[in-house]
């Protein structure tokens, strides 16, 4: 009978339909999330994640993990895990209800790279709380920022913002708006951006076109005529 019960669930589970979005490609593990699974309750976001391992981890080649994230406190709470012997969530599986075994864990950027990726995506994709205000505009684009997200750390300043693309000359075909975490090195007057979400319409409307978490290797030296120069001045001069 046990086998029959197991079989019932095997019938449908095994064929993944491929709506997992790749958000981070690390050396051994590719990390995916299911955007449609994101559920918001107050400051908490619940999301399903999926991992693919290029090298088997204790015989496991892929897995799914449902987690809760406290977007205000940067905490994670694993709820449910299932591991598979084969890639693409196929083959024999072992599931575990991890919700009672684990409590809320503080996410550290350096120590919990996978949770950090899930946090950066899930909490900043159409943020729960955002207080966008127009910072600057030109014929090409408009820049909105959320002043509440400004963080100063030594010579570095970071702030969340998005740009509405007003002219095709910008060179981002099909992109109406682009939300990013802007990172300024105040001493060097350089700039780079990360955790970027692109949308087809203005003001972050429409379905996500593309996402990347890894910062570009190059940084941009800001001159006074650069669109982001004034934002750097604002971010770096704030206390």
């Amino acid at each position: 009978m046990k086998k029959i019960i197991l079989f019932i669930f095997l019938i449908f589970v095994q064929n993944a339909y491929g709506k997992w979005l790749l958000i981070d490609d690390q050396k051994i593990t590719k990390h995916f999330v299911d955007i449609e699974s994101i559920k918001t309750n107050g400051n908490i976001r619940k999301v399903w994640t999926h991992q693919e391992y290029s090298e088997p981890q204790k015989g496991i080649k892929s897995s799914v993990l449902q987690i809760e994230l406290d977007c205000d406190k940067q905490l994670v709470h694993p709820l449910f895990a299932k591991s598979y012997r084969e890639s693409n969530l196929e083959g024999n599986s072992v599931e575990s209800d991890v919700s009672n075994k684990s409590s809320w864990i503080k996410i550290s950027k350096n120590d919990d790279k996978e949770f950090y990726s899930y946090y950066m995506f899930s909490c900043f994709y159409k943020p729960i709380k955002s207080y966008w205000s127009l910072f600057s505009s030109s014929n090409l684009s408009e820049l909105y920022i959320d002043k509440n997200t400004l963080i100063r750390d030594g010579n570095r300043a970071t702030i969340q913002g998005y740009s509405n693309i007003l002219d095709k000359k910008v060179g981002l075909d099909g992109v109406g708006s682009l939300q990013s975490l802007y990172i300024f090195e105040c001493k060097d007057e350089t700039f780079k951006f990360t955790n970027s979400f692109s949308f087809p319409q203005k003001n972050l409307q429409g379905n996500l076109i593309d996402y990347f978490i890894s910062p570009p290797e190059h940084t941009i030296k800001l001159s006074e005529d650069n669109f982001y120069y004034n934002l750097m001045k604002f971010a770096c001069n704030s206390k």
Binding site: I5, I11, G18, D34, K82
Partner: protein, 139 residues
């Protein structure tokens, strides 16, 4: 003691009635079976008209044909019909009752039936057949 016996008898009768109901409902001729899933060894059909809503839960009837025979370790028979339940709020699934048939398309008579109501629900994983079924039945 007498009460316990009565309750046990009642439960047994109830199970028999539910199994009988499952055997009769969605008859192969009258049922509106839609092919839902197919692979090299099985074909699964769902009768969407059997959907009943109970609070946050949805129950429905489905059956699976094994054109090349039920895998050895799953017992005998060529097709299985079951009453399943999706919890739309908790996003879980479980089967409640199951009936084994001798031939494909629920033909050849019943071989056995099983009460699975004591089994725990299983989480529905996104981007699977189960999750698209949940979307269809829960919306």
């Amino acid at each position: 003691m007498e009460n316990d016996l009565s309750i046990m008898k009642f439960k047994k009768l109830l199970n028999t009635l539910i199994s009988l109901f499952l055997v009769l409902i969605s008859n192969i001729v009258l049922g509106e079976w839609s092919l839902y899933f197919k692979d090299n060894t099985s074909e699964t059909y769902i009768d969407y008209s059997s959907k009943t809503v109970k609070g946050d839960k949805v129950q429905y009837v489905q059956y699976t044909d094994f054109p090349f025979g039920v895998p050895k370790d799953l017992g005998q028979g060529m097709s299985i019909k079951y009453l399943s339940e999706i919890d739309c709020k908790e996003e879980t699934i479980r089967s409640l009752y199951l009936v084994n048939y001798r031939d494909i398309k629920l033909q050849g008579g019943v071989l056995s039936n099983h009460d699975l109501t004591s089994t725990s629900p299983s989480k529905i994983i996104p981007n699977t057949g189960q999750s698209s079924l949940m979307k269809k039945l829960c919306n």
